[in-house]
Symmetry: C2
Subunit: 398 residues, 2 copies
């Protein structure tokens, strides 16, 4: 019989996907340029030319048998070395190639990291608002997801709620900074307090608690700042990265797990992740793409557009009287809806061809996510439309 | 705690990997050209120029945001259409794009196909000799692997033994033709008899039995022949393919599952496999590589070298008095060892810098596998060495 568990998953509707399909269909009626589709986090800027040139050069100059040959099960040694070196220089770490495991994007990184440090039945803590795909990753390991309610004031960490959940035994804690969907970057204070609390709980419970740090937006930070690197604060950290957003190559499925050199079983974890890959038939990411990103580790797409868009939207939403935290990075903004039912709010916006995602599937009610990885021209055109929608539908909002 | 199940897997020694590492180390002592390393099934011929040119052209000419954008969860529609069209033309099938799911090589294909049609505890039948990675794929689904003993005369199917196992309830049967490690191609008679038996058992047991057909060597068939296409014989077939061997791009991790249009739940299975990918963080293979292979579906590397090598080795082994079935395809040959302990036989060969893999890890004792994906020059140089080894060590072999 066809597997009933997976078959049942077909009936779970993805709100984001439905909205994105609605936007595409509406685009066919009135032209996609006239649909203000803020639903999908798909990078809108091209990859840097250096990435393209690297791929072309590798294919033109390298021996094809080597370029396209099997990677070792722990992925390509010189690529792992290059990633370690780059992280050490940027964040003052002491990784060796042995701590790096190349993966199929952040999804592959998270799925491997979670399987490596949990066993079926273990508890994994996530923080609302959270990326909805965390649930299949956690439950795919047979682990149980425990959600810390949101700190809706600042979208840092709701520590009283976290402390309560940590009274239970917990195998791992999964954070995401800069954050999808809030756009917020965790402060050094937040990371330090989290690290202190986890160390205290490790001692109290007598076992390790691993920190899985999901960092695909690490390079998209605004106002000339950079994001604090969570592994700097806590030894038992597995840092999960994707080149999808920094190089604008989400379809190429390339990222890595960096295991903290002082992490429990640090010398075994990459080999364990290679074993995990065997059973799921995942194996390594594409060899030529591993080799290509290793040559452009310090480069990014031109990410300035996201900051420009952030400014436009943040200024508008504050001007219109929304409660909204100023995003420090990513390409998301997460204003509070003007009525308690965010789905109803977003539904009304559809009449103005404004596609916003209600926050419920991110584990917190009453907000909306806008993904502003769009041309600034389109964001600019959306501003008067958003204003008209809000003024017509919520004239008494203040 | 680090996952103990995966940690325990680290201690399982891979015979093939150990031999390959021995060969590399020995190569450092005497020059790798002097080590006759028949251990690894890594293609030795370059990919066709058309593949390289396609990758370069896509990167030079296509919009990078589109080329490197996220694939839909069911993989790229035009790629799926192109694969369906090609298979229909070659094998008289009636696939649509909806029946095709692009995967990370045959490993990804098998892992998804097996998860889609089994539930934990189900039985999956494999045939000795079998590719050792089948065990992690099957057990990774929570299924139980049942092994049909080898037909050591012809390496077709041992039907009496299969019939006995099919008295139990079985969810799926996994075949591999052309076969690693025997090099044998299943005849039409074998496939017809298998299909008849499975249909009979489906009726008797009152449930579907799926045929998972592992076909990475489909294009490497000798003597001007072609391999019979298993899906032609049995409706409940999921055909699992990899471009690793046909295009010599194993590191790029690209293949597919083709679901027979008359298969049970044929219209759901690709969507189910997409759901499976969510939980394992696998998602789609690289977008640019999906798009590239779709443009070279009818091409292969120059595979003639494998047939030349087959002839050289088969002629030698028969001349030396070995019992050996003539390979009809792949780049493997599987002679009977000259003593009952194949490991002891292969160990003696190491003294002559001949690296053969004993058959035990393929589920059958007493044979050896040679992977002859090597330059013909090297195979030619190995012939007198093999002759000397056999004549010195087994003078009384006839």
């Amino acid at each position: 019989m066809v597997n009933e568990t997976y078959k049942a998953m077909l009936h779970e509707k993805s709100v984001i996907r439905e909205l994105s399909e609605f936007a595409a269909a509406r685009g066919k009626e009135i032209g996609y340029g006239n649909v203000f589709d803020f639903s999908l986090g798909n990078p809108s800027v091209p990859c840097p030319d250096s990435y393209t040139e690297t791929v072309v050069r590798l294919h033109r100059r390298e021996d094809p048998v080597g370029l396209h040959g099997y990677s070792p099960s722990t992925t390509i040694p010189e690529v792992r070395e290059a990633v370690a070196k780059s992280l050490n220089a940027r964040f003052g770490m002491e990784y060796t190639g042995g701590h790096i495991f190349m993966t199929s994007g952040a999804a592959g990184a998270l799925a491997h990291a979670l399987r490596a440090v949990t066993s079926p039945g273990d508890r994994v803590v996530v923080f609302a608002p959270y990326f909805p795909e965390y649930r299949p990753y956690v439950e795919g390991c047979g682990a149980v997801m425990r959600v810390v309610p949101a700190d809706t004031k600042a979208f840092q960490i709701n520590f009283p709620a976290l402390e309560k959940i940590l009274e239970e035994d917990v195998a791992a804690v999964l954070i995401n900074s800069p954050n999808n969907p809030s756009g917020v970057v965790y402060s050094e204070e937040t990371l330090q307090r989290l690290a202190n609390l986890l160390r205290e709980k490790e001692k109290e419970k007598g076992h390790d608690i691993f920190l899985i740090s999901d960092e695909p937006y690490r390079e998209i930070v605004f106002d000339g700042k950079s994001a604090a690197y969570p592994s700097r604060f806590y030894d038992n950290t597995l840092s999960c990265y994707s080149f999808s957003k920094s190089l604008s190559i989400p379809g190429e499925r390339i990222g890595y797990v960096a295991v903290h050199p002082q992490c429990k079983d640090a010398d075994l974890l990459v080999a364990i992740m290679a074993q995990i890959s065997r059973g799921i038939g995942h194996n390594c990411p594409s060899s030529s793409i591993q080799l290509a990103v290793a040559q452009v580790l310090e480069e990014t797409s031109d990410l300035q557009v996201y900051e420009t868009n952030r400014d436009l939207l943040y200024d508008l939403f504050t001007d219109l009287g929304f409660t909204v935290v100023r995003p420090g990075g990513t390409f998301y903004i997460f204003p509070k809806a003007l009525e308690s039912d965010a789905a109803a709010f977003c539904k009304k916006a559809l009449d103005y061809d404004l596609i916003f995602v209600p926050s419920d599937s991110f584990g917190v009610p009453g907000f909306l996510r806008l993904a502003y990885c769009l041309d600034t021209e389109k964001v600019t055109r959306s501003l008067p439309v958003i204003r008209r929608f809000v003024e017509e539908q919520y004239p008494d909002r203040r």
